[in-house]
């Protein structure tokens, strides 16, 4: 079901947190709300769930305006960060709970089949008799997911679902959640502060800061062409390096510290002397390209398949490079590596991408 926020506004104690937000999630799409903590992404999610009341604007499920309905009547499934399983109920009872409450509730015996079905989908058939206290974190997560899905909700809302899992489980659950979302075809919103989660799990990413959506785009597109310095800085691991300087000549860029780089061809025609911030992603330094930057290696971080280098190209100016694993370069070595100038990102003084 298509989900739409129109001029959604939310304030806490008179202080607006989100103002006039517009967002549209297509039927069957999985959208990530990505942003630093406090940016309003969970607030948005809880407002969609009806846990928070919107102070303005409309929340539409398909054509239906849900803004003034209590959460009981919105038919959404929510997975909370701490899973919020009911500790006094067995897994079976936890998953069956949404079916046994509300207006058209089932008798307990009737819930066995739907619970079994959803448990099979989520691979937790063997856990049904246990209590939440007897489950591992990953199992609790799966139960929470099953409980959220058992009522076949119109929208599935995931609030930092992977934050409490260890690294390995996180990887596993990442693909699991995506698989289940695909299989059920349910419209889903994932709230996360982890850009890897957002990019790997979702069809589109909405990046938020200070209660505002800065950009909505498919992950790759957003990574390639971020609209602003903030978005560029938020995506990418290891992160992008920003260089503050100004335009020189026809198509050049110079920093006060002395580093000079050519600008991409598409930026030809900027007036000379204009101040500019250049963003250099680590994969665009040290692999290929026409331009060259040289300097001394100050840090080497082997990551197995790849190796990460910090190169001080001018006093205080450190470029980051990620390359297929290599051991021929060590700390203190002077290197001259190519820079892929065509892929450099440039931002004006206000942080907007040029």
């Amino acid at each position: 079901m298509r989900l739409q926020l129109e001029n959604f506004t939310k304030a806490f104690d008179g202080v607006p947190v989100i103002e006039d937000m517009n967002l549209q999630v297509e039927d069957g799409e999985m959208l990530a709300l990505l942003g630093p903590s406090g940016c309003g992404k969970s607030t948005t999610l809880f407002a969609i769930a009806g846990i928070y009341r919107a102070d303005g604007g409309r929340i539409l499920f398909g054509e239906r305006d849900m803004s003034n309905l209590p959460s009981q009547r919105r038919n959404v499934g929510v997975v909370f960060q701490n899973y919020a399983l009911y500790p006094h109920m067995s897994v079976q009872e936890n998953i069956a709970f949404p079916l046994t409450v509300g207006k058209n509730r089932m008798r307990k015996a009737d819930t066995v089949r739907p619970v079994r079905e959803i448990a099979e989908l989520i691979h937790i058939e063997e856990l049904l008799a246990r209590k939440p206290a007897q489950l591992s974190g990953g199992q609790q997560q799966r139960v929470a997911l099953a409980r959220a899905l058992v009522r076949r909700p119109d929208v599935l809302l995931l609030d930092e679902p992977l934050a409490n899992l260890d690294a390995k489980l996180r990887l596993e659950m990442r693909s699991e959640i995506r698989r289940i979302q695909r299989e059920t075809g349910i419209t889903a919103i994932l709230v996360t502060h982890d850009q890897v989660e957002a990019m790997s799990m979702c069809d589109r990413v909405a990046i938020m800061n200070k209660g505002e959506i800065l950009q909505i785009a498919p992950p790759t597109e957003m990574y390639r062409s971020p609209v602003s310095r903030f978005v560029a800085g938020f995506l990418g691991n290891p992160p992008i390096v920003f260089l503050d300087g100004h335009v020189t000549g026809e198509c050049g860029f110079t920093m006060e510290q002395g580093l000079s780089l050519p600008l991409p061809q598409r930026l030809r025609g900027l007036s000379s002397g204009q101040s500019l911030t250049l963003g250099v992603r680590p994969e665009h330094f040290g692999t290929s390209g026409a331009a060259v930057a040289s300097g001394k290696v100050t840090f080497v971080e082997p990551q197995g398949r790849e190796t990460l280098f910090d190169v001080e190209t001018a006093p205080g100016v450190v470029l980051r490079s990620i390359q297929p694993a290599r051991q021929d370069v060590g700390i203190g070595d002077t290197v001259s590596w190519p820079v892929d100038a065509e892929h450099l990102l440039a931002f004006d003084a206000a942080g907007t991408r040029l």
């Binding site: 009981q72 929510v78 006094h88 009522r151």
Partner: protein
Amino acid sequence: MSSSAEATGGVARAARHPSTDRPHRQIAAARPRISLFGALLLAPALILLTCFFLAPAVLTAVFAFTDMSTSTGIGKGQYVVTPNLLRELADAGLSDEVAEAVSVETYTVDDAGLEAAEAGGVDGRFLKNIADRLNGETYTAAREFERALRGLPDAPRSPRELKLAAEHFGQSVLNQRFDTSEELSATLAEVAPNVSEETRDRIVASSYTGAVWTTENFHTLATQRETARLVANTFLFVSATLGFFNLSLGLFLAIVLFYMPKPVNSVFSTLWLLPRITPVVLYAIMWKWFTWEGGFLPVLAEQVGLPSFNYMKGSVVTAWITMIMVNGFIGASFGLILFSGALRAIPVQQLWASEVDGATRWQQVRRIILPQLRWPILFVTAYQTLSLLSAYEQIWLTTNGGPGKTTTVWALEAFRTALSNYSGNLEYGLGAAMALVLVIVGLTLSILYLLLFRFGELVSKPRIEF
């Protein structure tokens, strides 16, 4: 208590701990130091425990098996045969002949009698006559002795004076205090040689004025008709107060306040605490102002044409309602505080989740909140049962068990019996027995509660990962 038990365990473990590969000498040196330190740390707790918990409980148990009362005193008693005692024994089947034989008065001229007579102002010459001529004589009848006296040279003329003089030599076992049973027994044997040894022992035994060991208190409690009424009253009082106020009202308030905004919550929580923090006497007086004739409620009732009288003591039903409310309003705050704390410990996401899942407010309360309040509910039930079982001060200060004895509960009756009653004879033994019954009932109930709520499960180590 549990902390001290743990500490004991800790000391024991520490003492056992020294590893085997260490030299023997060190182990030997280490052991007493650790246990001494442990004992030192434990000492204050143990002393307090002994003085304020163990000793009173043990003394109560001890007193419960005595007939200690104001008349026996708490010290060592003596052996006295009183006319009252003989009357009681006669009622219990002692024959009149024995009673007469025991209470018979004899007259013996001896040093003690002479001294008494001298102190009583009997003429000196007459006394000398008596000492010279009648010394060592014993008379079993007053008339005989008086005749003998009249025969003396310096005997006074008036029969009255003669009679008075004779009285100084009179001896009776009645009202005489003996320190040991043997002395009394010997004297009785002398006075009434015809009384059988068995009867004598019986008289001696019952003549003891101090407290004696007896199970009579429990027999009394088990047989008197009053007991059934007390038990019924106590049961009604405890269950009604607990059920309507401490649990239901406490739970209701806690849940209602839980859904209120925080300022409202704080104000009402504090208001409900007032009955508990008001000094008990003031609290009782306020209830009197509220319910007595001329008080708030009766005046209000008069205005609207309802029966107006002293609700606290005027009728059995209103007295009961008053008594339960007086205690209930104090108890409700206890439940309120405990339940509020437990409610706040439930993660808010669980409540959100249940709402998103479609649960109504009522379903949320019944299916999510109440099951998680099981432990506090058990605690309030168990703790308040015990404190209500032993609560008497509010009742004492308000209805005072009345009208009649209709609102008298076990604890109040025990208090009255042992420590405060109008007849003045405080029956410590019987009161202690009543208290002991209360203690046993309380302990039994605690164990039952713990079994019922599967205590072991409740305190087992949590295994939820956060």
